[in-house]
């Protein structure tokens, strides 16, 4: 071998006709002479069978000569680079073509071959047609194409120095279908009344056989104006026509269409077709324009109207918040800093009372000495003409430390101290002189009940708060005279202190109206539909007066009042509109131990309050001790039959509980602050 090589060096004529590939091969230099020899020998010979030794020798010689030439020329050569199969496509699922990309050719003429193998078969076939589909392609005709069969395709690049295999590719014809674009695209402008629309039609590509159902194609078209850049795409399914509406008047459109099989690739877009839309009046657009103009106009008018009536609207939408207004109050004065002046206007005629004629404010007390009487009734005689007094309305609870009640307790304490006398509490001769205003619909009468009979003393003064009449020098338990305009509350006296005091001494103190009214005392009490309210004395002055008069009460205590047992009855004179029963005391006993004792307080005990807010009056039989006269429950019960003619005929639903001491005291109206029966 070495000898032959050395001999080759001397041959310069290279002539070979056996291997075609070397005729165009390019030779590259090899650094190592031995390697080059190796390469030479590795080049496959198409056939070695039957080659004579001479031919083989010739081949080798040739190669060696080539190598020498390579060394002489100085270029580099290599086996071909690896080719790659780029894609295989079938236009109609009956044939297919594969294209490959050649790698580097290594400087030598390289030949490519495509080999394929069908599924489950080891037989290798070479590509039947390299030309039809162009360069670097392989076309499989119908006979060679089997659908639903796996093809294993490889491309081999061969050159003088070697061959390179590409990566194999498995394909199934079904999944590589890419049809040709649709054909015969036609555009027509049709009219729908006054609206033009575009009617697009096309046909399936010729090769694709959709008629036999072999291929099913779905289509898509796109349209745009000539000047635009964006296409508007419309999928069309399997149909071959399409309508496009809403065209621009006078516009020029481009339309393209493409198709795709169920499982495959989209075709290329067909060539563009042009169409020009004729000019037409776009009614819809003009309608919109008109609507916009109209709405703008209306908006303008509204804005103008609002602007014109800005002020009025402000008043309407955002009415001014009424500021606090006090009659006669000048804000400016306050702002100026003259507060006194500002407030001076507020000072009314009676407020604050400039003349501290407290005596006027007091309820007159009448001290009555009623032996065995457990309570004394005190009749107030004088009306209070204090209009400006306001009384707070409250609900039934009269135990809540109100002034009147407090004052009452004061009185009680006082009376306890001065248990000198044995008041006859049974005589309830206290004539109540109450004059109510007709307009007054609600006022309370507190029924004074003396708890302790022994407490009756001359000092005990019970205020009979039928009206608010200030009794001078009397314990100022205010009795409210019902005023015309207010709902009054009667002070609630839980315990009544009846002072059988020196009436005569008091009489002169009784107000101007006392003597006049002794004879006729009217008891007015009204029962509101609601609960009777407790008069709450708000006047501090009254409390002061009370304190003041407490002292006077004590002075009175020395008076001895015989126990008077009176049985006075109150006659219902009439029932006023406001549910007021006007009682008329009926003088039943001619005896008047106390001629001055005019003020017999007659009262009838209220038995109960029936459902219709009627009072059932009873004769008072006894008074419980320590009764809270504020509570209605403690009224003693008496036999209704003994009631006088003042008894209401209305049935009582809730009779008062019986009292321990039942003595027929006499008819009297106990005006008590009683709640609506809650027991």
């Amino acid at each position: 071998m070495n000898e032959k090589i050395s001999r080759m060096h001397f041959f310069f004529v290279v002539k070979h006709h056996r291997s075609k590939d070397l005729s165009r091969a390019q030779i590259s230099n090899f650094p190592h002479p031995h390697l080059s020899l190796f390469v030479f020998f590795s080049v496959p010979q198409p056939s070695l069978c039957g080659a004579t030794m001479r031919k083989a020798e010739g081949g080798i010689l040739l190669r060696l000569l080539l190598l020498f030439m390579l060394h002489a020329t100085g270029t580099s050569y290599s086996p071909p680079g690896k080719p790659t199969l780029t894609r295989c496509r079938s236009p109609e699922k009956e044939t297919f073509t594969c294209w490959w990309e050649p790698g580097s050719d290594g400087g030598l003429p390289t030949k490519y071959a495509l080999y394929y193998r069908k599924e489950n078969s080891d037989k290798v076939f070479e590509c039947p047609d390299y030309r039809t589909a162009g360069e670097n392609s392989c076309f499989f005709n119908k006979n060679d194409t089997s659908v639903w069969v796996n093809y294993n395709i490889t491309v081999v690049a061969t050159n003088a120095l070697g061959r390179t295999f590409s990566d194999p590719v498995d394909i199934d014809v079904v999944y590589i279908v890419k049809p040709n674009p649709p054909e015969n695209l036609a555009l027509t402008v049709l009219w729908d009344q006054t609206w033009p629309y575009l009617h697009v039609s096309w046909e399936s590509p010729q090769k694709a056989d959709t008629r036999s159902g072999w291929i099913t194609l779905i289509y898509e078209l796109r349209i745009k104006l000539e000047d635009e850049d964006e296409w508007e795409e419309h999928p069309a399914g399997q149909q071959k026509t399409f309508n496009i509406f809403s065209l621009c008047s006078g516009g020029k459109y481009l339309v393209q269409v493409r198709c795709k099989p169920d499982h495959g690739f989209w075709s290329e877009w067909s060539s563009s077709q042009y169409v020009k839309v004729p000019e037409y009046f776009n009614r819809e657009k003009s309608m919109w324009v008109l609507a916009v103009i109209f709405s703008a106009f209306a908006l303008f008018i509204i804005t103008w109207l609002i602007h014109m009536n800005c002020h009025n609207l402000k008043q309407c939408i955002l009415p001014s918040v009424p500021g606090p207004k006090i009659k006669g109050f000048d804000e400016q004065l306050l702002k100026d800093g003259k507060s006194m002046d500002a407030f001076s206007s507020l000072v009314g005629a009676n407020f604050p009372p400039t003349t501290t004629n407290y005596e006027d404010l007091l309820v007159e007390y009448l001290e009555v000495f009623v032996p065995e009487e457990r309570e004394l009734m005190l009749e107030e005689t004088k009306e209070l003409h204090n209009d400006s007094l306001k009384f707070e309305n409250s609900t039934s609870d009269c135990d809540s430390g109100r002034g009147s009640c407090d004052s009452h307790t004061l009185l009680i304490d006082k009376s306890e101290e001065e248990k000198g006398q044995q008041p006859d509490q049974q005589s309830s001769e206290i004539k109540m002189d109450g004059k109510g205003q007709d307009e007054e619909d609600k006022y309370l009468t507190c029924s004074p009940e003396n708890v302790d009979s022994h407490q009756l003393s001359s000092e005990k003064v019970k205020t009979w708060p039928s009206s608010f009449s200030p009794l001078p020098e009397y314990s100022p338990i205010p009795l409210q005279q019902p005023n015309s305009h207010e709902t009054s509350k009667q002070p609630c006296l839980s315990d009544s202190l009846f002072a059988a005091g020196p009436l005569p001494s008091h009489f002169p103190h009784l107000g101007h109206n006392t003597k006049d009214e002794i004879g006729s005392s009217y008891w007015q009490f009204g029962i509101s539909n609601k609960q009777l309210h407790l008069l709450h004395q708000q006047m501090e002055a009254h409390q002061q007066l009370q304190a003041h008069k407490n002292a006077s009460v004590s002075n009175i205590g020395h008076l001895q009042l015989p126990s008077v047992r009176f049985t006075e009855y109150v006659e219902v004179q009439r029932v006023s509109d406001q549910n007021m029963v006007i009682l008329h005391p009926v003088p039943s006993h001619p005896e008047t131990s106390y001629p001055d004792w005019h003020q017999t307080e007659e009262y009838s005990k209220v038995k109960c309050v029936d459902n219709d807010n009627g009072l059932l009056l009873l004769q008072r039989e006894g008074v419980e001790e320590g009764m809270d006269m504020c509570s209605y429950e403690e009224l003693p019960e008496s036999d209704p039959s003994k009631t006088t003619n003042t008894t209401f005929t209305s049935p009582c639903s809730q009779p008062a509980p019986s009292v321990q001491d039942e003595r027929v005291v006499g008819g009297y109206v106990e005006t008590s602050v009683f709640t609506l029966p809650t027991y």
């Binding site: 699922k93 489950n120 659908v147 796996n150 079904v174 008629r211 036999s212 159902g213 072999w214 499982h263």
Partner: protein
């Protein structure tokens, strides 16, 4: 006012019903038998075909999805030897591999092939679904799809049988097409084969076979009722 509404509304409903029924009847008359009298009776068959083809398309779609999903999880080995040896168990069924072949064979044979394919895949798909549901790595999505696939094979077979019945009734094809004859023979011969197939290969094979079924049905339809949407 309420008292009046009810009878009035009833009257309106009645009127509307009458109108619609009349329209329907006219429509019916118009749609079933248009001008073409000869092809009039084939409309129901065409509708049946469409229904069955839709069904098969859906089946193929599901198998395609599952196959691509499998390719994500289990990339098939690049081993060429392994790929070559893949052998679908339905390869024994001779199926036309080209358009001409498909058009050349008889309708009955084509119908027969379709039914054979459907029968052959009944059990393998069921077992595939079972194995899928046992594996935790498969998502619920895949499991549902495999079940759906398995059910569809059943339904499709019933549908194709109905179509064949109809065709036989209409005298289009002969009565040689049966459903009881070949399946059992198939099952006994192929019973072992598909059990050895891997899941991926099974999916690959089924994807192809479902495509075959769909295509054959289309061909059959366009051969028998060509005027209705071919």
């Amino acid at each position: 006012m309420m008292a009046h509404i009810r009878p009035v509304s009833a009257v309106w409903v009645g009127i509307i019903c009458l109108v619609f029924s009349s329209r329907l009847s006219t429509m019916k008359a118009a749609s079933i038998c248009p001008n073409d009298q000869t092809g009039c009776h084939l409309l129901p068959l065409a509708n049946l075909f469409d229904r069955v083809i839709q069904h098969s398309a859906r089946m193929h779609g599901i198998s395609d999805d599952l196959h691509s999903e499998f390719e994500l999880y289990f990339l098939p080995s690049k081993n060429q030897i392994g790929r070559v040896s893949r052998n679908c168990h339905t390869s024994t069924i001779l199926t036309p591999n080209g358009k001409e072949n498909a058009q050349r064979i008889a309708r009955e044979e084509l119908a027969e092939i379709i039914l054979k394919l459907l029968v052959a895949w009944r059990d393998p798909l069921w077992h595939f679904h079972q194995s899928m549901s046992q594996h935790d790595e498969f998502t619920n999505f895949s499991s549902n799809k495999s079940l759906e696939m398995s059910d569809m094979v059943h339904e499709l077979r019933k549908g194709v049988l109905k179509v064949v019945e109809k065709m036989q009734m209409l005298g289009i094809i002969s009565n040689s097409v049966g459903d009881t004859g070949s399946p059992e023979a198939l099952l006994t011969s192929d019973s072992a084969e598909w059990r050895f197939m891997k899941d991926y290969d099974l999916l690959y094979c089924f994807r192809r076979d479902s495509n075959k079924i769909q295509n054959y049905l289309k061909i059959l339809k366009c051969r028998i009722v060509p005027k209705h949407g071919c």
